[in-house]
Amino acid sequence: MTARISRWPGIELRAADLLEGKVTQTRFRPDAKYAWSAGEAMSRFLQELQNGRFIARTCHKCERILFPPRMFCEECFRPTDEWTFIQDTGTIETFSVSYLDTDAKRIVEPILVGVVSLDGASSKMGMMHYFGEMTKDEIRIGMRVKAEWKPPADRRGSVLDIRYFRPVREGER
């Protein structure tokens, strides 16, 4: 290349070139709407969230307790066998303190978010969620947490039926 090629193609544009209309451009905003069927496993999972509990599926072959639940085991490649409830307590596996919202816009109050492995499921199996009732300086990997559920009347069958995971209080297990 580099030794032999003298011209590197590409004409750089600045943000101002777009904003000031110096560049010919066309615009388009897609209008696509989706309705996802939750499927067999996730429908039951969401329904149980309304009851304030987590449900998993077991695979008798690899003996794993699979969470989030699924109707087939990707490892053994066979249908899973039974529904089983697991706990709403767990351990923070990892987390982030985010100053970005979903569109990468900056926010002042950071979002505490991370992965919780849930008690009763196979090792390291869990879900992503928010953390609350702790500061960005208190949160740490390995912390024991419990789901803080919305009041039953406010639950809609969504992961948002959990407000966040908060530190396990004394006497709780």
Binding site: G10, A38, S96, D103, P110, G126, M127, M128, V159
Partner: protein
């Protein structure tokens, strides 16, 4: 199986915004690759195009849209996409066209035009999350990296300053790259540590931001290379690719098992049983600084948790024992997803044929490995090349 060599490469500038359309960028990179190999489009039997989700360009069936610029007009043509892994995977797809004996010459063209998506392609990245489990939480893609980086740092007790060294090294290496968007000869570890916190532990200078760009490589059979008496060639001696489940909350993020599996496959093919001794330099995927470390461990070029130590000791500098990302990588050159092939496959070719100019590794190198990574922290693609 037919022996396959890389005989040409080309790429455009990588910039936040380029005036050229995706097709025009593909044409420029492809023409450069053909010219550098002394070939014309008539010599090309088949074409592989690699490009990430249609939504970045806002054109559905983007592969077909890019066809003309990629030299694929009225030829057997396939678009492949394996997330960020495409940067290396498209070459693997090109390789099997030739290795199988189906084609003598294959063009591989990768493109990304992320600036079309306004105001920021982040809104498209958000669509990779699971619609039921993850998306109600309004996730940002940077969260993935932040969570993986934190797990890596915490389990091995890695300091942020040792991770920042990767960004410094790569942005400095990129100073010698004519296409670089993010080269900085004066950047320091302190600059990285003081840059804006985006999603802790990820800060602004830990990340390679979105870019526009295209790259192309030409693959040919041993027969063709011999008949045409092509001198500048680097042989593809091993390929491997592997994917883990999208259920990423079900595995320990501390180690990229899928990269290790892909690497083992490629090494076995290349008859490499001691990668640390037999591989002279590496171009692992570095969209974030910690990813280079993570991937060096996945590529079995460092023990678990050891990559930050090697970096601190200067082993991975361009003049070190194991130069890593001598191109400047994604952190230094830019991150137009699939088009990063220019620094992964392109750089291996240029280094192994002594054409890397200011970036040339000062000591002799015979074997290099490149790797790309993508999807929901689940995809690894690996190519080993020999001079």
């Amino acid at each position: 199986m037919t022996k396959v060599g890389v005989i040409g490469a080309g790429m455009t500038l990588f910039r936040r915004r380029l005036q050229e359309t995706g097709k025009e960028m593909c044409f420029e990179a492809t023409k450069m690759a053909l010219d550098s190999a002394g070939l014309t489009r008539a010599d090309v039997n088949m074409v592989v195009c690699g490009t990430a989700p249609d939504a970045f360009d806002g054109v559905a069936m983007k592969g077909e849209y890019l066809l003309d610029g990629s030299g694929g007009y009225r030829k057997p043509y396939t678009r492949v996409f394996t997330g960020g892994g495409t940067g290396v995977f498209s070459t693997i797809a090109g390789w099997w066209h030739v290795a199988s004996g189906l084609a003598d010459v294959v063009l591989v063209v990768n493109e990304e035009k992320m600036s079309s998506c306004q105001p920021h392609p982040q809104s498209v990245f958000a669509n990779i999350w699971d619609p039921i489990l993850d998306r109600p939480l309004k996730p940002n893609l940077v969260w993935i990296f932040a969570m993986e980086m934190n797990r890596y740092m915490t389990v091995y007790g890695v300091k942020k300053e040792d991770i920042a060294r990767v960004a410094v090294k790569n942005k400095r290496n990129a100073v010698g790259h004519p296409c670089a968007q993010l080269a900085d000869p004066n950047i320091t570890v302190d600059d990285v540590l003081k840059s804006e916190v985006m999603a802790w532990p990820v800060q602004r200078l830990d990340i390679s931001p979105p870019s526009d760009g295209a790259s192309a490589v030409i693959l040919a059979s041993e027969d063709f290379i011999r008949k045409r008496r092509i001198k500048d060639r680097a042989w593809i001696s091993g390929v491997g690719w592997c994917i883990d489940s999208t259920m990423w909350t079900d595995r320990d993020l501390v180690f990229p098992e899928y990269v290790a599996r892909a690497a083992k496959h490629a090494y076995k093919m290349a008859k490499i049983d001691e990668p640390r001794r037999q591989i002279d330099f590496a171009e692992p995927y570095d969209p974030f600084d910690y990813k280079e470390l993570h991937h060096l461990e996945g590529l079995l070029l460092a023990d678990k948790g050891e990559a930050p130590v090697l970096t601190r000791e200067g082993v991975t500098e361009r003049d070190g024992k194991l130069p890593v990302c001598p191109s400047g990588g994604l952190l230094g050159v830019g991150n137009p997803i699939a088009a990063t092939m220019g620094m992964k496959i392109g750089e291996l070719f240029w280094q192994l044929t002594g054409q890397a100019g200011k970036r040339q590794i000062p000591h002799e190198v015979h074997t290099g490995v490149s790797q790309a990574w993508g999807d929901l922290m689940q995809y690894g693609s690996v190519v080993v090349m020999k001079g």
